[in-house]
């Protein structure tokens, strides 16, 4: 019973919210526009590092730091998009995953350790703006069967508020004429061209918007913890694809639902692994956690093959499944 309760607690944690937000960004790329971005982790890394470095090293105030970070993400999206969007889908996939790794190698390198902290990452002395505004009583807060620290709960509240605002924004955008052009591009690029739409410009706008949302997710992601370069490995992007396809690509709530289910299942399997370690079946928990990612990979394969529309999606609306 404890296991299930502990697992369900993941539904509202800040990590779940940050992943949901990054997956919403990825959904604009992949779900709505049909752009195969395998490097969303790169945008999230730019968000996390950009914000932390702006605040701690440049001494910027938090609104300015967010603005600088988002500008960085926009510039990065333009750098990725301008050369690749006119090419076949594979090119964008290859370049996005390569650039995300370039970013991670660079941030992880000891050469820039004075700025990025190298492999150790950055300590959290940048979240004062958010924790300072905490209206909850100090100490532990009880919420139903769960207990949170006051700080965690407050960060979660802020995160989910951001997720809600962005989700409503995406909902409105996708119903707008602009959003319809995106869906049109996903269904048939040439038809959109013949209607006189500027396909490349729309794709670029979608890439920039989804990337900026990814960077915003990065800012939220690092608030409750420190900045760790390993977090931004390609595994992060693949987790997001699993969430997206699980919840339903090309739907507004799919990525949110996907993130919630993903983290509940991850926590539950984590408890299983710990039980396995206690029972002497596994050597240690780190080893066991690798096994969980074997399951994530297998789940992604099974989902994309057998239920590409996920839980909320509509199969007829998915062009990536077209023959």
């Amino acid at each position: 019973m404890d296991w299930i309760l502990n697992s369900l607690r993941e539904i509202i944690t800040p990590t779940t919210a940050a992943y949901a937000l990054a997956a919403i960004g990825l959904n604009i790329h992949f779900g709505f526009t049909g752009l195969v971005n395998f490097g969303q982790a790169g945008f999230v890394a730019i968000g996390g590092y950009g914000f932390a470095i702006s605040v701690t090293q440049l001494g910027l105030s938090w609104p300015l730091a967010i603005a600088v970070t988002l500008l960085l993400a926009v510039g990065y999206a333009l750098l990725l998009g301008i050369p690749t969007l006119r090419l076949r889908a594979d090119y964008l996939a290859i370049v996005t995953i390569a650039c995300a790794e370039i970013i991670r190698f660079t941030l992880n390198s000891s050469a820039f350790a004075s700025v990025t902290g190298g492999a150790n990452g950055l300590y959290n002395d940048y979240s004062g703006w958010i924790t300072g505004a905490n209206p909850y009583p100090q100490g532990l807060v009880h919420l139903g069967p769960w207990t949170f620290t006051s700080t965690d709960l407050w960060i979660a509240t802020v995160d989910w508020a951001v997720v809600a605002v962005v989700a409503v924004g995406v909902f409105l955008l996708i119903r707008s004429p602009w959003g319809l052009v995106l869906k049109g591009i996903r269904e048939d690029e040439h038809a959109m061209l013949s209607l006189g739409k500027n396909v490349n410009l729309h794709k670029l706008q979608a890439l920039v918007m989804g990337g900026a949302i990814g960077a915003l997710a990065g800012i939220l992601y690092v608030q409750p913890t420190s900045v760790q370069p390993f977090d931004f490995a390609s595994r992060m992007t693949f987790n997001m694809y699993t969430m997206l396809i699980l919840g339903g690509a090309a739907t507004v709530f799919g990525p949110i639902l996907g993130s919630m289910i993903f983290w509940v299942v991850m926590r539950f399997t984590d408890e299983l692994v710990n039980a396995g370690v206690d029972a002497g079946l596994l050597d240690n928990a780190t080893q066991g956690s690798q096994l969980r990612f074997v399951l994530v990979g297998a789940a992604l394969v099974l989902l994309v093959v057998f239920r590409p529309q996920g839980i909320l999606g509509n199969r007829t609306e998915l062009s990536f499944d077209a023959k």
């Binding site: 594979d90 995953i97 990979g297 994309v304």
Partner: protein, 409 residues
């Protein structure tokens, strides 16, 4: 089935990793000047076969520590301070009488090491780069053959390389086979792995008629699952593929392990063989026909499914061979193939997607860039050089060096 086989073969590797203290190989030391006062802020690096495997900076008491080395072997400790470089060669051995972590005291009153000239270093790096480029080429040709016949970019190809590296480690270090025999066995295992992948996974998907994007996402899922499985079984550590030492060969200013020259020889032979097979062989010609137009190839009596199956076997074998050579060149780790995958992409795009000769040329350029840039960029950013080439090419010349100027897409 394939998984069970892999689990069975790899189980000893996982067990070996779990042994306590296995990762605690390294050096601790003290740097002081002629008056026996500690030297602060000296840069210390430990190198193995010319590759930096660990770095540290001396603290206020002149102390430094580099742990977590791969295991026994010969290392060079390089200390840089006051514009001079000091080098000591040290061996770590597995025995009852010596500690896995050795202590070193170095003094700046010792004679500094003779600095190799830039030209010599360039020559050394260029040979390493050629070696890396050739083994990228072997793996990348498998990738582009699969791309040609199965019509999608296989993001799990890097895991085939890792599989080869780990199999090489299992055969050479755990089963104590001679290196060449271990390499051959790993290649055969890789070919079988490729066959099983096609049989159990990709062929059913093709039958189902899924789209290109579905295949790409299925391949990242497969890559994640395999890479995590390797990490589970093999651990996070980096190990030498073999304990065999073939000595070093000096050619002018270039000192390389003899294995590197053998690896280059094998690579060239394999590349020529694949080239001739594609150009002249019956199945080779059929492969090119399928890549060009599968429907037409099928209509003219070519068994497309059989050709695709053969390509998967070949691609798995080549990737595994590349993994063994990479394991000898660097070391074996669970993510070695994933890192190489990105360089393969760079090679394929640099050469022009779908041009075999271009892929080879692209691979060599990427290999040379990766190794030579290490002279100016830090070793832990080694792969960034090769990947940056990829982005630069796409900005300037998206069709690649040898691709035709046509609309790609």
């Amino acid at each position: 089935m394939a998984l069970a086989l892999l689990l069975a073969v790899l189980a000893p590797a996982g067990a070996a990793h779990a042994a306590p203290g296995d990762d605690q190989w390294g050096f601790r030391g003290l740097v002081r000047d002629g008056e026996r006062k500690p030297v602060t802020g000296a840069a210390v690096a430990v190198e193995s076969d010319g590759e930096v495997v660990g770095t540290d900076v001396t603290d206020a008491r002149g102390r430094w520590e580099i742990l977590g080395l791969a295991g026994p072997g010969t290392y060079t400790v390089v200390v840089k301070t006051g514009g001079k470089t000091y080098e000591v060669e040290k061996e770590l051995v597995r025995s009852g009488t010596t500690l896995p972590v050795q202590n070193l005291v170095m003094s700046t009153s010792d004679a500094p090491a003779v600095q190799a000239s830039l030209g010599d270093k360039l020559a050394q790096r260029a040979v390493s780069g050629l070696n890396l480029g050739l083994l990228i080429a072997i793996a990348a040709i498998g990738l582009s053959l699969v791309f040609g016949t199965s019509r999608f970019t296989n993001f799990a190809h890097g895991e085939n390389v890792t599989f080869g590296g780990i199999m090489g480690y299992v055969f050479a270090s755990l089963a104590h086979l001679p290196l060449l025999l271990a390499a051959a066995a790993a290649t055969v295992a890789g070919a079988a792995f490729g066959y099983l992948q096609d049989l159990g996974f990709w062929r059913p998907l093709r039958r189902k008629g899924v789209s290109l994007v579905t295949l790409m996402i299925a391949s990242i899922g497969a890559a994640l699952a395999l890479r995590s499985l390797f990490q589970f079984l093999y651990g996070n550590g980096t190990r030498s593929l073999t304990r065999e030492d073939w000595g070093t060969v000096r050619l002018g200013p270039v000192v390389m392990p003899a294995t590197s020259y053998v690896a280059m020889g094998i690579s060239v032979a394999v590349l020529v063989a694949v080239g001739v097979w594609l150009k002249r062989g019956r199945i080779g010609k059929a492969t090119r026909a399928v890549a060009n137009n599968p429907a037409l190839a099928g209509a003219s009596g070519i068994d497309v499914d059989r050709v695709t199956r053969i390509v998967w076997v070949l691609s798995g074998g080549l990737a595994a061979l590349s993994g063994v050579l990479l394991g000898v060149f660097n070391q074996v780790s669970y993510d070695m193939g994933f890192n190489l995958l990105l360089l393969m992409f760079a090679a394929v795009i640099l050469g022009g997607l779908g041009t075999a000769f271009g892929t080879l040329a692209g691979a060599i350029v990427v290999g040379l860039c990766t190794e030579i840039l290490v002279l100016w960029i830090p070793a832990d950013m080694k792969y960034v050089g090769g990947l940056a080439v990829l982005v630069a090419v796409l900005l300037v010349r998206p069709q690649g060096l040898f691709g035709r100027q046509a609309r790609i897409g």
